[in-house]
């Protein structure tokens, strides 16, 4: 299954309950990176609420412990907004998002129930801030069409 489909399926259950949710896209960082795994943080330390998705450091650590031996790096943090409007980064998204050069922040509107990825919000962290990623740039940076993308649910105790 493709990364975007995996992502939507992972976000939808919370979205249907009126809550934001999120996943991490992992892969090998290259000039054009492929998403090799979609990881959904779960359990204690993960907050899925109507206005916030957050992941505790202990869960990040567990994701790292799973990812690094596989040679995977965090490419993007993807989370949902409940609004149907074109996503914008909220002050909290900017403040608490991944602040690593070239890291992507992706926002899926409608609680994950949006098939058209051109209606998703695509942002890249550069020069100490996020900026919108244009469609042409996106294709050059991330290959989203690769099949066989792995899906994993990870809690602070490890993968399921």
């Amino acid at each position: 299954m493709k990364a975007c489909e995996q992502t939507r399926l992972a976000l939808l259950p919370a979205g249907r309950c009126g809550c934001e949710s999120g996943v991490f896209w992992l892969g090998e960082r290259a000039s054009t990176s492929s998403v090799a795994a979609v990881v959904k943080p779960i359990g204690s330390g993960v907050v899925e609420s109507p206005w916030q998705w957050s992941v505790a450091p202990e869960v990040y650590a567990a994701v790292t412990a799973w990812a690094k031996p596989r040679g995977l790096t965090l490419l993007a943090a993807v989370h949902s907004h409940l609004s149907t409007r074109r996503p914008r980064m909220s002050p909290t998204d900017r403040s608490q998002g991944l602040k690593v050069p070239d890291a992507l922040a992706v926002i899926v509107p409608t609680g994950g129930d949006e098939l058209d990825t051109t209606r998703w919000g695509w942002f890249v962290y550069e020069s100490d801030d996020y900026r919108t990623l244009e469609e042409k740039e996106l294709a050059a940076r991330v290959r989203l069409t690769a099949r066989g993308c792995e899906y994993e649910e990870i809690s602070k105790e490890g993968s399921r």
């Binding site: 202990e58 650590a61 403040s95």
Partner: protein, 105 residues
């Protein structure tokens, strides 16, 4: 009967420890040899520099801590030897970002 004493070779004590620190968004690990007397805070500091991150306070507070064998290192003034013992040749850490949301003024 004479006792034959066997010479047991001393367990090789590695003087230095290779510290390896990984960080989820980074493509490369931080690796450096340290004396066993090195305090963990020193490794944390070098690792943050390597990964180009820093503890800071903006609207929220950002702090980077090290995880060793699945546990957060609370006291970064302990030495590598206190953490891994006398013989372990390497120590593998994970650097993790902790964000504490600021309170609205």
């Amino acid at each position: 009967m004479a006792t034959q004493e066997q010479q047991i070779p001393p367990q090789g004590k590695h003087e230095d420890v290779e510290a390896i620190v990984d960080y989820l968004p980074a493509t490369e690990d931080f690796k450096k040899e340290y004396a066993r007397t090195t305090v963990i805070e020193s490794i944390r500091t070098y690792a943050k520099t390597f990964f180009r991150v820093q503890d800071r306070q903006e609207r929220d507070t950002y702090f980077y801590y090290l995880v060793f064998r699945g546990e957060r290192i609370q006291d970064t003034q302990v030495t590598l030897e206190q953490l891994v013992g006398e013989h372990e040749p390497r120590a593998h850490f994970t650097l993790v970002e902790e964000i504490t949301a600021g309170t609205a003024a």
